[in-house]
């Protein structure tokens, strides 16, 4: 795949968030509407295209801890807010930001994590669990060895302690399990198809009216 080859050629250790999501989208995984821009005018144009509110993020494969580096501007509601956020990000002293990601702002109600890693004995494995800040706090995750059958994918969702998060919750609909199973199977397939990929995190995978959507993603290369 061209994205991976290009990244490897330039010696990158991982794909940028934007590239990571392009890869996921190739496998039918729903991702946020987004575009990479380098100018303020372009940022405004893309924001209008995607639809307000939007998020601006510093982009680049070296920028994997954007929250900690303060390189994220959330909930921007109009052209003016996009302009000032763009200027602030590109003048950041914490990191050199050449590109900015303009992204659909998702107010998902629940955060999940879907990932892939390689086991020495079993090869690519899929991980599923609670996302966001709870990933590290609760360590509530389940694994399956790729390839996942449909049954494996469905069974995996019931294999976490916090499985109730997938049910209807505070007026929000239950997760679309078929769609989620598609994603779990797809991420395993990516691992099988691309030997050069070492690890993947989709975190968070948010639920928007019960439909899972990849909001942030990291693809680590070998």
């Amino acid at each position: 795949m061209k994205i991976i080859e290009d990244a490897l050629k330039r010696g990158a250790k991982s794909l940028s968030e934007y590239e990571s999501k392009l890869l996921l989208a190739e496998y039918g995984i729903p991702i946020t509407g987004e575009a990479v821009v380098t100018t303020e005018a372009d940022a405004v144009a893309k924001a209008a295209q995607i639809g307000y509110p939007v998020v601006l993020k510093g982009s680049g494969e070296t920028l994997s801890h954007k929250t900690e580096m303060n390189l994220i501007a959330l909930n921007l509601r109009d052209d003016n807010e996009v302009r000032s956020a763009f200027r602030e990000l590109t003048s950041s002293t914490r990191a050199e930001v050449k590109e900015v990601l303009v992204q659909q702002m998702v107010k998902g109600d629940r955060e999940l994590l879907v990932g892939m890693n390689r086991d020495i004995q079993f090869g690519p494995c899929v991980m599923f669990g609670l996302g966001g800040i709870f990933t590290e706090i609760l360590e509530d995750v389940a694994f399956r060895v790729a390839p996942l059958s449909r049954f494996d994918a469905m069974d995996m969702m019931n294999d976490i302690r916090g499985k109730k998060i997938l049910d209807a919750f505070r007026g929000k609909p239950a997760v679309d399990r078929e769609k989620l199973a598609d994603i779990l199977q797809a991420i395993g397939q990516i691992g099988l198809d691309h030997e050069q990929i070492a690890e993947i995190d989709i975190n968070p995978l948010k639920l928007l009216d019960g439909k899972p959507l990849a909001v942030d993603a990291l693809v680590v290369l070998k």
Binding site: G115, N117, I120, G123, F151, D201
Partner: protein, 498 residues
């Protein structure tokens, strides 16, 4: 190496477990050598085939004439056991190759388990075996057992009972001790292999062979690791549909990837991935050696429950309550009795019986309504399995009569009580027969719990094919494992890929 071998459709290892003629290179007249001890084990267990000890310096060992080499044997053998020092093994493989021996078991250690030099020697041995098409057990194996020909070619003198359980073990010690333990528990084995260093044949090969083997009903495995790319999940998924694989994984402490960049890699410990692999492939994973034994007994003797609904019958309230609690905490359901079943019990039991599930018969000393009640319960279509508390023979009460001294009056009373208890002890024998009949009739597992009668479990299994445990917790855990496996069998075989 072995993982790259073509994935043959059937893997014939009969010559390892049921050979008709074997030779032993390294046979010894010295009782301190394995070449003596293993030979003695083979002879003592009445091996039904012919054994040819090979030792150029001895005329005979244990009354068996010795031969100088494989070339000098009067007939071709199916299998060769090697117990010589490691450094001569490569040349011996050449000799086996020249005589077209299909199977060789290398007991000898000092190979890859001993360091880089041993590893190089092992590679040499395996490469030579491959050249001749010899299939190799070990090196560093503690031997094999096969019930068909009574082959007890193991280092310790274990004499397993014959049954339908076959086992591979990546630890020789754990394996042979499971055989010995099975002997005490009444659990019979069909085949056993200590897979040693798995230079050639590995645990997945044995799995595949046991899967096709008609005499094997249940597969047991002790596992510490698998070769990269060995495809355990895909293989075991197919096999688990045919027969249960009970697996105990050793070495579960390793933490996840330390230097990982993602959560997915950082949180993936070996333990988690193995657990996932077992679950995906329908393998029954147990966490203790005790559970391995407990499950082996039930899986090899009982039908599977179709669901997770349990009927409990007890002679006294407390144990019934404990059992019900433990069922509910472990994914099993204890459903309430419907009116029509309650009415049936009302006709037999005193008014103050529990009127529910657990069915508490309340202690009655004269007439024993237990067998009748068990039958009613087993016929109820609202449950899939039964835990029968106190149905085993000879509870602790029979100790009454032993070693007591006292005034004549007391001694007379004890004698009378003993006679009564002896008579009562006849009843459980009848009852265990009845339990077996009800299992066959209802196709439901009925697990007996006999608290405090640790010696009776072997007899229950051996004499009546009734599985019993000394605590309700163990019975519940086994039932839960059976239910999980049954659920796997009923899961759709939907292998739809992405």
């Amino acid at each position: 190496m072995a993982a790259q071998k073509p994935n043959m459709k059937t893997l014939d290892l009969d010559g390892i477990f049921n050979p008709e003629r074997i030779a032993m290179i390294g046979a010894s007249a010295n009782p301190r050598k394995w070449g003596f001890i293993i030979l003695l084990n083979i002879l003592k267990a009445n091996y039904r085939g012919r054994v040819y000890p090979i030792n150029p310096r001895e005329a005979s060992i244990l009354g068996y004439p010795c031969y100088r080499s494989l070339r000098d044997l009067p007939e071709k053998v199916d299998m060769v056991l090697i117990t010589t020092p490691a450094k001569v093994v490569p040349d011996l493989i050449d000799e086996c190759g020249a005589q077209r021996i299909p199977y060789v078991i290398v007991i000898t250690s000092d190979f890859s388990e001993a360091g880089p030099e041993g590893a190089a020697l092992e590679r040499d041995v395996v490469a030579r075996a491959e050249k001749y098409g010899i299939r190799l057990v070990g090196p560093n194996s503690m031997g094999v057992f096969g019930s068909k020909t009574n082959l007890h070619a193991t280092m310790p003198p274990v004499m397993p009972i014959h049954g339908n359980v076959s086992m591979f073990s990546q630890s020789g010690n754990v394996g042979v001790q499971m055989l010995a333990w099975g002997e005490q528990e009444g659990l019979g084995f069909n085949k056993f292999v200590s897979s040693g260093n798995e230079g050639d044949l590995n645990c997945i090969d044995y799995l595949r062979y046991f899967a096709e083997d008609r005499d094997t009903g249940v597969i047991l495995g002790y596992l510490e690791g698998i070769e990269p790319g060995a495809n355990l999940v895909a293989e075991a998924k197919k096999i688990s549909r045919k027969k249960p694989i009970l697996v105990f994984k050793g070495g579960r402490t390793e933490a996840g990837g330390k230097a990982a960049a993602s959560h997915s890699a950082a949180m993936a410990g070996e333990n988690e991935i193995f657990r996932a692999a077992f679950r995906q492939s329908g393998m029954v994973e147990v966490k203790t050696s005790q559970a391995l034994m407990d499950c082996a007994k039930a899986f090899s003797h009982y039908p599977l429950p179709r669901g997770n609904r349990v009927g409990i019958i007890t002679r006294g309230g407390g144990w019934g309550v404990i059992t019900a609690d433990f069922c509910e905490e472990n994914g099993l359901v204890v459903p309430p009795l419907p009116e029509k079943i309650i009415k049936k019990f009302n006709q037999i039991l005193p008014k103050y019986w529990s009127h529910g599930n657990p069915v508490d018969l309340v202690a009655t000393i004269s007439h024993d309504p237990y067998p009748e009640c068990l039958e009613i319960l087993s016929r109820w279509e609202g449950i899939d399995a039964i835990i029968a508390l106190g149905a085993g023979r000879r509870g602790f009460t029979y100790r009454y009569s032993k070693d007591v001294t006292g005034p004549q009056e007391v001694m007379d009373a004890i004698r009378m009580a003993s006679t009564f208890i002896e008579q009562r002890n006849q009843i459980p024998d009848e009852m265990l027969k009845g339990v077996r009949q009800l299992i066959v009739k209802s196709k439901k597992p009925i697990i007996v719990v006999a608290i405090g009668s640790e010696k009776s479990h072997k007899l229950n299994l051996a004499d009546y094919q009734v599985v019993s445990y000394p605590t309700p917790e163990r019975a519940v855990r086994v039932l839960w494992q059976m239910y999980k496996y049954s659920r796997f069998l009923n899961s759709p075989q939907d292998e739809r890929k992405f």
